[in-house]
Amino acid sequence: MTRNKLAKREAKQLFRLCMVDALLDEGRVRQVAQHVSAAGYRYCPAVLAHFLRLVKLDQARHTANVESATPLPEDLQASTQASLTRLYGPGLITAFVHRPSLIGGMRVQVGSDVYDGSVKAALEALEKSF
């Protein structure tokens, strides 16, 4: 087994240790990072790099970026958050961003999933169709 595969396997095991009720525990993440750094482990940099990548991916999966051309009303923000929670489960961090360049509508990104109902996306699709 190569050094990189070993580091990946170690990082994956460490990442599983940080999960509490299917959610990533930030405290455990800090503890693991400190422990690995202090242990003087031979593959420490590679393991930490893979561990950081897994944490970032998990964070992206549990973070919803909601962009809108105009600031969303409170009720619409709540309903959107509720819909996203139903779809992706609890622990989802939702961030609402005002982005006038969208012209109109709303764009939601959770991890690699994108729901783009903005006027800008529609116009870009129209331009591509020509």
Binding site: I103, M106, G117, F130
Partner: protein
């Protein structure tokens, strides 16, 4: 001859002697002259006439041989001339055949080259038409893209100004419904 003269002299002693005396013939001198003339004739025959005759015979044979050679040469010349005529006839016939074959080959080559030229020209025309069609399609596509870009640009500039808060809400609700679905 001498004997004949002697006999003739004896036979006609009378008249001959009379005539001889009339003309002053001295038989002794005449006989001596005849003898000396005979000797001269014999010597001439022995040493001159035979050689001259031999030389004449040799000359005659040479002339005959020359004539025969001339005949042979003439015959050979005639035969050569006949052969030349025959060769010339064959050459003419062969030349005519070659010319006909060359003409036929030239006609074939001309026909082939003409066909090739026609095919090449048709191919060039076909390619030119295809190129023109491709250029036309490309220009049409570019024009369509440009028109689309201008339309989108104009729409982008106008849409933001004409959307009301209700429109914004409606658009956001549509996206939210899409997520919920």
């Amino acid at each position: 001859m001498i004997a004949f003269l002697f006999l003739a002299a004896q036979a006609s002693e009378g008249q001959v002697a009379k005539i001889a005396r009339t003309f002053g013939v001295d038989w002794l001198h005449l006989g001596a002259q005849i003898i000396s003339f005979s000797i001269v004739c014999a010597v001439l025959y022995k040493f001159a006439y035979r050689q001259i005759l031999a030389m004449l015979e040799e000359r005659r044979q040479q002339i005959a041989q020359g004539l025969a050679n001339a005949e042979k040469i003439k015959a050979e010349l005639d035969r050569t001339e006949a052969q030349r005529q025959e060769v010339m006839t064959q050459a003419h016939a062969q030349g005519a055949t070659f010319i006909e074959e060359a003409r036929a080959a030239a006609a074939r080559v001309l026909e082939q080259e003409t066909q090739k030229a026609i095919a090449a020209s048709e191919q060039i025309i076909s390619k030119a038409r295809e190129a023109a069609a491709q250029d036309h399609d490309r220009m049409l596509a570019e024009l369509r893209r440009e028109v689309g870009r201008l339309v989108v640009q104009a729409t982008t500039m106008v849409t933001g100004k004409i959307l009301t808060p209700e429109d914004h809400r409606r658009l956001a609700e549509e996206t939210e419904r899409h997520i919920a679905a």
